[in-house]
Symmetry: none
Subunit: 220 residues, 2 copies
DNA sequence: TGGTGACTGTAAGGTTGTTGTAAGCTAAGG
DNA sequence: CCTTAGCTTACAACAACCTTACAGTCACCA
């Protein structure tokens, strides 16, 4: 899962990013409207957190431009306490949810969770694929009932694959979704990572499609 | 457990806060309706004690606004003796319980206890996780029958974890729930605290999920 | 008032798990 | 049987976490 955090206050941006990272997201930040508009239009994110009051370009106009270009990613806007009109126009401009600053990080996480789930078309917080289960709320993975001890990154990989079970996911896509954007792509991290996960899962769940990518078998 | 005390009489507020603190809560106070509405909407509490007669904004309207925004935290309202109509409207507005002033502190504590327990979905006042037991009424913890000598903070940590056993709880969440809101987040308090608790519990009960948080093992 | 002891936050240094890199190896597919 | 994509392993660097000692604070008591 990749998230974009647009917030000019770097400290706040950092806090949000950190929280999201802890919850299994790979986060990119940007700090003004111009940058936000560009990045949001060129990169692919699973969710965006967008502050409305931004330098260079207003968050609302950025958002409506995204939508005009057909970008459907879930967007949560952040507004100040007493500018409820912003919220209304924000929702009209295509925001999926809003939060009033200052807010609890947990609140943000919960809404992010809910949105991502909704946009993936899953109702509950438990993802399953055959004997594999993943509770995104408690961040635990189980295989046929027994708990799996996964590292943060391994968990992210599995979560991503389970969100698209039976689909072939290329290594490039995986790198894009698991890492920050400034990551250099020419290495075998993904292969190594898949290897580590397979050691814990058994080899059957994640299949390799040579030249195309990996896929998670939904009925194993 | 975090509690919010809304009461304009500062002395009373102080008394209540004190009692709750002694019972293992981290307490925030506020003294008028405006503030209450805002804080209750932005921070996350496990319970709120809400006086009805408040300056700036009436407690009942604050409460119904909280509920309108989907805030489901348990709320106990405080009313004067002869204003029974307030109580009715209060309960309608979404209060979970009420108390008539003046009241016994113990009475308040008992109801707070009961509500928190109910909202966590536990019937009795004893939480258990494997060989660990925690009696929230008497505030005592036992490990395989023998009493554990925990400090107030240590008790709170354990209580919080036991309320979410087998779930990964991030350090950020812990800081938010164990401390007042004005606490600076960049220190290793939680690590130190966990260390202290582990020394008394043994190391197996609280596991660390590196990069994600801690979790209390339900069957140890 | 001043002493005592428990409780907590801070800081510093040690330890350990995670993760990217690189190098050699396997096997798919022509 | 050769090429190439992917597998596997070992290793080093780093961040996350642990541990400890210390100092400030507070309540309690003489």
């Amino acid at each position: 899962m990749r998230a974009l955090v647009v917030e000019d206050n770097t400290q706040a941006a950092e806090q949000i990013s950190h929280a999201l990272t802890e919850h299994g997201f790979a986060v990119d930040q940007c700090h003004d409207g111009e940058e936000a508009w560009f990045i949001g239009d060129t990169e692919e994110y699973d969710i965006a957190i967008l502050d409305i009051g931004l330098p260079k370009r207003d968050g609302l106009s950025v958002l409506s431009d995204w939508r005009r270009n057909g970008n459907k990613m879930p967007v949560i806007i952040l507004t100040a306490r007493d500018t409820w009109r912003e919220r209304v126009t924000g929702l009209r401009a295509g925001a999926d949810d809003y939060l009033i600053k200052p807010f609890e990080m947990e609140e943000l996480l919960a809404r992010v969770e809910a949105l991502v789930r909704r946009s993936n078309g899953h109702a509950s917080s438990v993802l399953s694929a055959g004997s594999l289960q993943l509770d995104t709320a408690t961040q635990r993975a189980t295989l046929a009932g027994t708990h799996l001890d996964l590292s943060a990154l391994e968990y992210r990989l599995l979560a991503y694959l389970m969100n698209r079970q039976n689909q072939v996911v290329s290594k490039a896509t995986l790198t894009e979704h698991l890492y920050q954007m400034d990551f250099e792509h020419n290495s075998n991290v993904i292969e190594v990572l898949v290897n580590r996960v397979r050691k814990k899962l058994g080899t059957t769940h994640i299949q390799t499609r040579r030249g195309q990518g990996y896929l998670l078998n939904a009925d194993e």
